[in-house]
């Protein structure tokens, strides 16, 4: 792998709340200009880790380095954080809220006004500029929150479930915007439960469960390391062969085809051969990669 500049370095970080361990000995790097998928079930310690990165909380052990130094007020100005649980001031004009959030990131008022106009235009919300939050639909509010995250032109974006509450059209739209930001060589940490979305967007992933790291690496590497023992099959007949536990460990139905997990030491060639010998009419027989969803479920459930 080519050595790339590292935006964020998390080294042996632990965080405890009383007897409860939120994060345990977690280490990972986020490389500059990549989309980093930060995955894990609820309560795995994602939010705690993110809060430590943005400087809301501090680790009990280990250290976190952002752009080569420890988090500080100046560094906070270079982060755009979209929390999972988020909101806006209910009775304040959109433009006033955005100005305030920009001011808190040390953006001058003139510059903020210019960018607010740009982003409202980009999000097709210009006519809502002087409206109050309560006048906006939920989806519009989500987009305003996204604007507040990118308004100060941050180098690192941390997006926690950015698509929740958005309709499919706006999801696609936001994905485009994220792709644009990536093209501007911004580093993006992307936290989600939606494995399909993660698969589409992420270059690298980190999966944590019960406060510990489970899997990490580039999406390619993770998938490759998960083995190539998955087969998609569309066929008529041959049921007896599929029930042979020496060949097939597990079958799942996917629409009009079946996904087969090969038994240990079983060979795909032998499986294909015995299917044909047993008179199965085969439409499709394909070695496939595991989806991120499969990996997620397998790793979390420990299968």
């Amino acid at each position: 792998m080519i050595e790339q500049e590292v935006t964020l370095r998390v080294e042996s970080v632990s965080k405890h709340y009383g007897d409860f361990t939120a994060v345990e000995n977690l280490s990972f790097n986020v490389r500059a200009g990549r989309v980093f998928g930060f995955l894990g079930p609820n309560g795995a310690g994602k939010t705690t880790t993110i809060r430590m990165i943005v400087g809301i909380n501090f680790p009990d052990e280990g250290k976190i380095e952002l752009f080569g130094s420890r988090i500080s007020s100046d560094l906070q100005n270079r982060i755009g954080y979209l929390p999972e649980e988020r909101g806006l001031y209910k009775k304040m004009k959109i433009v006033d809220q955005l100005r305030y959030f920009a001011a808190l990131k040390n953006v001058s008022q003139a510059e903020a006004d210019r960018r607010i106009d740009f982003w409202l235009e980009r999000m097709r919300l210009s006519e809502w500029k002087s409206k109050k939050t309560t006048d906006l639909s939920k989806g519009m509010q989500q987009k305003i929150q996204f604007i507040s995250t990118v308004l100060h032109n941050p180098d690192l974006l941390i997006l926690d479930e950015p698509f929740s509450g958005l309709d499919p059209i706006n999801v696609e739209f936001l994905k485009e915007v994220i792709a644009e930001l990536k093209a501007q060589s911004k580093t993006i940490i992307f936290s989600t439960h939606l494995m399909e979305t993660a698969e589409q967007l992420c270059d690298d992933i980190l999966l944590i469960n019960k406060s510990r790291k489970v899997v990490s690496g580039s999406l390619r590497e993770v998938k490759a390391s998960f083995g190539r023992n998955l087969i998609a099959l569309r066929a008529v007949g041959g049921e007896a062969v599929l029930e042979d536990k020496n060949l097939v460990a597990k079958i799942t139905d996917h629409a009009d085809e079946k996904h087969l997990v090969l038994a240990e030491h079983a060979d795909a060639q032998i499986l294909l051969k015995s299917l044909i010998e047993n008179g199965a009419l085969i439409d499709k027989f394909e070695r496939i990669e595991p989806s991120l969803n499969d990996i997620f479920i397998a790793k979390i459930k420990g299968i």
């Binding site: 943005v54 809301i56 906070q76 806006l88 808190l104």
Partner: protein, 450 residues
């Protein structure tokens, strides 16, 4: 520092640029004026004239009662009562009630009736019929033995609850009988007036410097000052709490905390809202000074001399200093509460405590006005939590030595430092706790851990 100022600016504008701020700023003086004027207005609504028969078998009392209740006499009495009320602002509640009752005109319409030669029973029977037939509203039976000590005057009325009319009538009868008794004893009315004239007692206060000073009016001013501080602290404390709860409830806190230090955010909020409160108070003080000035000018034009406590520039500066001390004490408590609870309703329950302390402070200021130099006044006016209300009132009643004022400022500043230290610790953790209210042991743990 730049972020802190952004927060201050944001919080200040958020309050001051609202219609409700403008409305409250204008409405409070109006409301205060209304409270002073409305009761007088209500009492001044005249009831219908009471049709009355004075059944006087002696023929001596009726004419005197009539004269005493004539409209000219009533008018003179009413205006005297009015002057009295203005002079003695510190009269007891009861006296004030009576006086305002006298200010209202009560009118009687005398119906002719010949009572001679009828027994008391006969009179009652006849007159009761007149009442039931609504020919008259009331009648008074003057006993023949009016001069004896067990003479019994009897008054019957359809409107027995009209205490104003009753008290006027009682006075009129008393004075009529007294005049008649005097006349019987050959003492003239003028002679009696001369003998029973009130002494002219003018209450003056000797200040520390030994000057004489008129004391009238300082009670009213003290109450107004106390009330103004009390209300402002309450309103702005609640403002702080709901602003904090909003940021917590909407999860804006998470975004804010990732942009600036929690301490900067909390202090920025306190200072911003504090400045808004100061703005409002300054408007009120200026308008109060103008109103009082105009009022005095008008009253002296009307020939009524009242003195107001001398309010110097220093008094006003002290007033603002103590307002700010009070603001930071109570606002910090409210911010602390806001960061512990999950919604405004829950906050309201906790907010009982500061409100309770504020109310005690407000009532203590009455004790201080009555005796500004007692031990109680001293301790209460330097004590944290109470001093912000009590000390300005005490300064107005009688300026204590400077060291006491300085001590009050010092003690309350220390209290603020302690409270801010405490609140900052709770705020940092509490603002990111969603879903449930923090318990006291939890809060205690946050304070110790950070």
């Amino acid at each position: 520092m730049r972020k802190f100022l952004s927060v201050v600016k944001h919080e200040y504008k958020k309050i001051v640029l609202k219609w409700s701020f403008l409305l409250a700023t204008l409405l409070f003086p109006l409301l205060a004026a209304a409270f002073a004027v409305v009761p007088a207005l209500i009492f001044s609504i005249k009831g219908e004239a009471t049709r009355i028969i004075v059944a006087d078998q002696t023929g001596k009392i009726a004419s005197r009662v009539r004269e005493n209740l004539s409209s000219e006499k009533m008018a003179v009495k009413a205006s005297e009562a009015q002057k009295d009320a203005l002079k003695n602002l510190n009269a007891s509640q009861e006296e004030q009630m009576k006086r305002s009752a006298e200010q209202m005109g009560v009118s009687f319409n005398f119906v002719e009736y010949v009572a001679d030669g009828k027994s008391v029973e006969q009179l009652k029977r006849e007159l009761n019929t007149k009442i039931t037939e609504k020919e008259i509203d009331a009648y008074l039976i003057v006993p023949a033995n009016y001069e004896s000590s067990d003479a019994k005057f009897e008054f019957f009325s359809r409107k027995a609850g009209d205490f104003v009319a009753n008290s006027s009538l009682e006075k009129a009868i008393n004075s009529a009988v007294r005049s008649q008794r005097l006349a019987d004893a050959d003492i003239s009315e003028d002679k009696l007036k001369d003998l029973s004239r009130n002494v002219d007692l003018s209450v003056k206060k000797v200040s520390e410097e030994g000057d004489e000073k008129d004391d009238e009016g300082s009670f009213a001013a003290g109450v107004i000052i106390g009330l103004m501080i009390y209300i402002t602290l309450l309103i702005y404390g609640q403002q702080i709490m709901s602003a904090v709860v909003e940021e917590k409830e909407t999860r804006i806190a998470e975004i804010l905390f990732s942009s600036a230090k929690p301490f900067e955010l909390m202090m920025g909020k306190l200072v911003g809202v504090g400045l808004a409160g100061l703005t409002q108070l300054a408007i009120w003080v200026v308008s109060a000074l103008v109103l009082v000035g105009v009022g005095i000018a008008q009253m002296s034009a009307a020939g009524i001399n009242i003195t107001i406590p001398d309010i110097t520039a220093l008094t006003i500066i002290y007033f603002f200093i103590f307002f700010l001390l009070g603001f930071f004490i109570y606002a910090t408590i409210y911010a602390l509460i806001g960061s512990m609870v999950t919604n405004v309703q829950e906050g309201g329950q906790f907010a009982m405590f500061p409100v309770f302390i504020l109310i005690i402070g407000f009532y203590l200021s009455f004790a201080v006005i009555r005796d500004p130099n007692s031990n109680v006044s001293f301790w209460v006016s330097i004590a944290p939590f109470f001093a912000p209300i009590v000390m300005p009132v005490r300064i107005l009643a009688e300026t204590p030595p400077f060291w006491q004022i300085a001590l009050a400022i010092l003690l309350n500043s220390l209290a603020i430092a302690g409270l801010v230290w405490l609140a900052a610790r709770v705020y940092r953790v509490g603002m990111l706790m969603y879903g449930k209210r923090a318990t006291i042991p939890e809060v205690w743990k946050w304070i110790r851990q950070s």
